[in-house]
Amino acid sequence: MSIWEYANPKKFMQTSAWALPWVSGLSVILLGVGLVWGFFFTPDDYKQGATVKIIYLHVPSAMMAISAWFMMLAGSLIWLIRRHHVSALSAKAAAPVGLTFTVIGLVTGAIWGQPMWGTWWAWDPRLTSFLILGLFYLGYIALWAAVEDADTAADLTSVLCIVGSVFAFLSRYAVLFWNQGLHQGASVSVVQGSDQVSNVYGAPLLVCVTGFVLLFVTLVLLRTRTEIRARRIKALIARERAAA
């Protein structure tokens, strides 16, 4: 059986109906464990105090904000190449989720930044790129909402997503060029650096990140199912009208 069979709307509805309780349940458990562990059972940082614990929300949502865009890019490419409707609809479904994660990332960042840097907002490259990412999400969502014909909307937003990715990437480097910034380096990375998160925080953080990933999957599955149902309803109405 080819993997593309899961792109059939009917098959997708069946599979996602089966998977949703597991994914969502696991996400709730992991988030519960990770957040409680992180908030109550890790020591305060010697420099940052208890403020550091916002990391359990800040880092995962920031990671998911970027990952969501990559998922939309993949969905858009699959739609343009293979024209699977589920792929286009899942990209549509992921956009508001990604935007929300972006906003959470920015807000928790501001709450973290205020005691640390003494300011809610600074035109730091990382913050600025995130804000710009949010703008790209807004444009993408607005275009989906504005175009009436569903397939045309999918075509246009897919092209926008691909071109937008190039420009978002460029913006990231343009902004780095523009201002070197305050923000610490990436908190989690494969290469061991000196400014890394210590293991005490690392384990619960990893649990939280996994929880956020599953939360994202849950939300995207749910929203994709909604989009599919909305399409079915629209087709039903069109058929009733044509029959009348």
């Binding site: 014909d149 629209k234 058929r239």
Partner: protein, 204 residues
Amino acid sequence: MLTVQDLCVARGGVAVLEGLGFTLSPGKVLILRGPNGAGKTTLLRTLAGLQPALEGQVQADPETVTYSGHADGLKATLTVAENLAFWASVHGQTTIEPAIVAMNLLALRDRRAADVSAGQKRRLGLARLMVTGRKVWLMDEPTVSLDAASVALFGAMLRAHLGQGGAAIVATHIDLGLPEAEVLDLTPFRARQKRQGAFDEAFA
């Protein structure tokens, strides 16, 4: 020049016509008939390659086909001659005189398109077909806002085009004075709704 096989066309994702098949040969004109909303415009746009067919095939060399829709593609601030010259050069043609003469636009040549009447604009839009140098004309309600004399003018232009080995498909309700024209009534080809429960109808 243009062959259609088992064609199904859709408007806004909903099939409107299905099972269409015909062949257009040089010197022939096909008149499309059917009530409003039957899918005449959709069919013509599909034949012109402006929108994809839901099923079936249109076989035609895209370099031979031209289209004339409800809007004439005229710029109000350009003169009649400038408008025609633009479309001529887009199609790699140089002369616009025969078209101006055929649609009786000589007196309006240097008038801005904004300053001519609706019927005159339409004549200009039809003259545009001649300057494309293409063989297959797809026309959507070409006689809208034309008076009787202009309709006769159009009929003569169309006959001359057919005489030179051209062909045309015209969606129209009025008699163009072409007794040899074939008439295709679209009513029998109206798309039947897919049977209930066919799930993927939403994802055509």
